[in-house]
């Protein structure tokens, strides 16, 4: 081949490879940041974070994976993400709606509330007609093994925060669970839980996860949604105010 032909084919090959490598790199990094972060701002020295966990989700590739949703404070819409940010050194009040049915915890120790203010959570349970059959129960323990009452947990191990999330009871879990996503309170049984904690003084990224093995179809139930951002694990960004 002549020198020009060689140079051209070399350039072409280089561009192809470089293009492929760039595409793959962006596909990775782009993939990681494709999820939006919901930003919560403080009002009156406190911040209100609203989350829910659903038995199914609205993604097209993995519709049967359980998933958390975060409510955008401005639009009140549910965003399919698990990334949110709170200001540093503030009291964070979390409201969690649990729509998914009960599953026993792998380690029942995490039925105990840790790391919240007062080490308690307060929860209420509603059936699909809206009847509140448990009202504002404040407790240190929601036993995942004695009654069917815990669906998932919300844990930020870096802060020592472990909170079991209440769920509809056994009978409702077996029959009437929410089948849409994101779920709404009308027509679906759910549990509503509130707790508070103080966000750390320094900025940083804190991972959070669920400790109930809710990845159905995977051994130990700890894969799938449990190991994918945007479903049952996420990051809480603490930003300095």
């Amino acid at each position: 081949m002549s020198v020009t032909a060689r140079a051209v084919s070399l350039l072409a090959a280089f561009l192809v490879v470089a293009g492929l490598a760039t595409f793959v790199a962006i596909y990775f990094i782009g993939g990681a940041s494709a999820m939006p972060t919901v930003h919560y701002a403080a009002s009156g020295g406190q911040v209100n974070v609203v989350l829910q966990e659903d038995p199914q989700n609205d993604s097209s590739s993995k519709p049967d994976w359980v998933s958390y949703y975060v409510q955008d404070p401005a639009s009140q819409n549910w965003v399919h993400t698990t990334l949110f940010s709170v200001p540093a050194g503030t009291r964070v009040n979390v409201t969690l709606y649990g729509y998914d049915g009960c599953t026993p915890l792998r380690n029942n120790y995490f039925s105990q509330v840790q790391g919240t203010i007062g080490n308690t959570v307060t929860y209420s349970q509603f059936d699909q007609h809206g009847k509140e059959y448990v009202t504002d129960k404040t407790t240190q323990v929601i036993n995942a093994w004695s009654d069917c009452n815990v669906g998932h947990t919300f844990a930020i191990p870096g802060l020592g925060l472990y909170v079991p999330v209440a769920s509809p009871n056994a009978e409702l879990s077996a029959n009437n669970l929410c089948s849409e996503s994101p779920c709404t309170t009308s027509g679906n049984p759910y549990a509503k839980e509130t707790f508070s904690f103080i966000s750390p003084a320094h900025a940083g990224v804190f991972r959070w996860q669920c400790l109930v093995p809710c990845g159905g179809g995977f051994i130990d139930g700890n894969s799938g949604p449990m190991q994918t951002l945007g479903y049952m694990m996420g990051e809480m960004d603490v930003v300095s105010s």
Binding site: R6, A21, G31, A32, S61, W65, G217, S223, G224
Partner: protein, 663 residues
């Protein structure tokens, strides 16, 4: 000692030399080759995927997990079969089964000019060697890119470039790409190319098996990379259960690719053993065998004996993932220790499969550039064999803290430390060869010296790891990382670079630019050491492997390592530039014997003729007889008729007239 004395018996008498019975060569795109292979692979994947969906769509587990491994695994299987079929691997088999004559062996004779033969299923071991060379460089560079991504992520313990699953994906891809594909980085390009040349043979014993061994590697490479599309695999290159059982679909890519590469290694090893035992030229006694051939011989045994265990483990892992068997899941009655044992029973000989060819190549190079015989030839050969044999008895040192019974720990500590004795022979041989030598610092020799320096550090750190109390802190930390990067990258890859600079003129008739080569050497050596030496400290200071968050006080050291690693990447880029520019544009010819080596392959033209030797040579002396006054040349390339019998008679007292004399 068999001599290839007969023409390939499949050539139909008086038949046309080219193409099929029609006598006309079909156009390039209709003959089997890589292009057809890609097409058939794509079709095969789709077929397999459809079949898998059809077979397994009723599994309720898939309804829960929204993932199905069976279509993916079947897809890979059919894709590989399609790839091989498109290449024409099964064509001769088919012809034999149908009782039709095989195509004339024009491929063996290298009758095709031009580049297209490198994209075909060819039976010339030299073409296979060149195919391996380009393949291995491509795989190495891909793995290296992943390494750059890892070091970018590790620049900061708190700011993350990659998400946690992306990071694990990158770590797994880098490790598996390197450990899996680099097992043939010297055996492929140089072993397949120079094995027959060094023993004076015109061919390998099983050219079809050898070519198949090569063509499995691009399939393994693509399948491994396709794991990225499925989100990767979170287990690293070791694939420990039950995490690999828990992983999503990307893990299938890992097990399947590793299994394919394992098959490739087994085939290559098998072919090489038979070739070395049976195809040595007359006069090529075991005591005159070049050290590189000794290393190939040992490694081929390791491949044939250890790799099937890996293929078994990968197969069982795939069965666990697709058919919900429970070989390795403790919770379901299996044993995760079984996987660890199977994997490491392979894994330890694997690292010697990686390291030993490096020893062999470097021994060749050292002798040439010291212009002295190899000191302690028998000791060197014993070292190779000793390392090979002992490597089967040490694998538990990867499992010292794992919860297996502790009573064997002192034993495995002993065997692992014993392995350092035959490894030390390599150094003894080098040091003896240096004694009162005339050392010439060509680029291959520089890499050889760096090899010894790196392997010394790597080997001594291995002794630290073999000591069980010290291993308690060092296991699974960056200390181990530094150890194996020193032995494998500092050893094997430096040896690969030495071999490329040494042998490329012979393989292609073109030499690599020397100035760029020296620049490449110095940058690679310096930045390699600045990258990996601090990792020993990092490990001892408590940083485990495969983590993306580490203690804040280790950040400075990690930054130093990352920047060094980027510079190391630049040095590899210099090599790539040198390679590409020399091969494509500068093309400085080098057709003689520039290193004035006595070795047999240098007595031929560059590149060697298609049939290697016009006549089977008679080996007259050792290739290492430098400085011996009145030494015979290494071989007689034109033995007159009847001399072969005489050579036998003279050497071993067998009367002449022995059968097999070439007419």
């Amino acid at each position: 000692m068999a001599i290839e004395t007969q023409q390939d018996r499949t050539q139909p008498a008086g038949g046309p030399p080219l193409g099929g019975p029609g006598g006309v060569l079909r156009p390039w795109f209709l003959r089997p080759g890589a292009h057809l292979g890609v097409l058939c692979a794509a079709v095969g994947y789709l077929l397999g995927h459809l079949l898998g969906n059809f077979l397994s769509s009723t599994y309720a587990q898939n309804a829960l997990s929204d993932q199905n491994d069976i279509p993916v695994v079947l897809g890979y299987t059919f894709a590989t079969l399609g790839w091989l079929a498109g290449l024409g691997v099964f064509n001769d088999l088919g012809r034999q089964m149908l009782g039709r004559p095989l195509l004339a062996e024009v491929r063996m004779g290298g009758g095709e000019a031009g580049l297209s033969k490198y994209f075909r299923y060819t039976l010339d071991h030299k073409v296979v060697g060149i195919q391996y060379l380009y393949g291995m460089i491509a795989y190495f560079l891909t793995g290296g890119l992943f390494a750059m991504a890892i070091r970018s992520e590790l620049l900061s313990p708190s700011r993350h470039l990659l998400g946690p699953s992306q990071y694990l994906m990158v770590v797994g891809e880098h490790g598996t790409m390197m450990m899996m594909m680099m097992s043939s980085v010297i055996l492929g390009p140089f072993g397949q190319y120079f094995g027959p040349l060094l023993i004076g043979s015109k061919r390998v014993a099983f050219p079809r098996i050898e070519a198949l061994g090569f063509w499995l590697t691009p399939a393994a490479y693509v399948i491994l990379l396709s794991g990225v599309l499925f989100g990767g695999f979170p287990t690293g290159w070791t694939g420990y259960e039950p995490l690999s059982l828990q992983a999503t679909t990307g893990e299938d890519a890992y097990f399947f690719a590793f299994g394919l590469m394992g098959l490739s290694m087994i085939l290559a090893g098998f072919n090489m053993i038979v070739t070395i035992i049976n195809y040595r030229a007359p006069g090529m006694r075991w005591s005159r065998l070049p050290m590189f051939v000794w290393s190939m011989f040992t490694v081929s045994f390791l491949q044939v004996l250890a790799v099937p265990v890996l293929v078994g483990a990968c197969y069982m892992g795939l069965m666990d993932r697709t058919f919900q068997t429970a070989f390795f899941a403790n919770q379901l009655g299996g044993s995760s220790f079984l996987y660890e044992d199977l994997f490491w029973f392979f894994g330890h000989p694997e690292v010697y499969i990686l390291a030993l060819p490096g020893f062999g190549v470097i021994a060749e190079i050292v002798s040439v550039f010291c212009r002295k015989p190899l000191f302690g030839y028998r000791v060197a050969a014993a070292g190779m064999l000793g390392v090979g044999i002992l490597s089967f008895f040490v694998w538990q040192h990867h499992l010292f803290d794992s919860g297996i019974n502790p009573d064997m720990r002192p034993l495995f500590m002993l065997t692992t430390e014993l392995i350092s004795i035959p490894t030390g022979f390599i150094f003894l041989v080098a040091m003896g060869t240096f004694w009162k030598a005339k050392i010439r610092f060509t680029v291959p020799m520089l890499f050889a010296l760096a090899f010894y320096f790196n392997f010394l550090i790597g080997g001594i750190s291995g002794v630290f790891l073999s000591d069980v109390p010290a291993d308690t802190t060092e296991h699974g930390s960056f200390f181990v990382m530094a150890h194996f990067h020193y032995t494998i990258m500092g050893g094997l890859i430096f040896a690969f670079m030495a071999a490329i600079y040494y042998w490329l003129p012979k393989m292609t008739g073109i030499k690599l630019n020397e100035k760029l080569g020296k620049l490449h050497f110095w940058t690679m050596f310096i930045f390699f050491n600045t990258t990996f030496l601090p990792l020993f400290a990092l490990g001892l200071m408590g940083m485990p492997r495969r983590v993306f968050e580490y203690a804040r006080n280790l950040e400075t050291l990690n930054d130093w390592v990352s920047i060094s690693a980027f510079c190391l990447g630049v040095s590899i880029l210099i090599f790539l530039i040198n390679f590409v520019m020399s091969m494509l544009f500068w093309r400085e010819p080098e057709v003689g014997n520039p290193w004035r080596s006595r070795s047999l392959e240098w007595q031929l033209s560059s590149p060697p003729p298609p049939e290697n030797f016009k006549r089977v040579p008679v080996i007259l002396s050792s290739p290492y007889d430098y400085g011996v006054p009145g030494a015979l040349p290494v071989a007689d390339l034109n033995p007159p008729p009847g001399v072969i019998g005489a050579a036998y008679a003279g050497a071993s007292g067998v009367p002449s007239g022995v059968s097999g004399v070439e007419a």
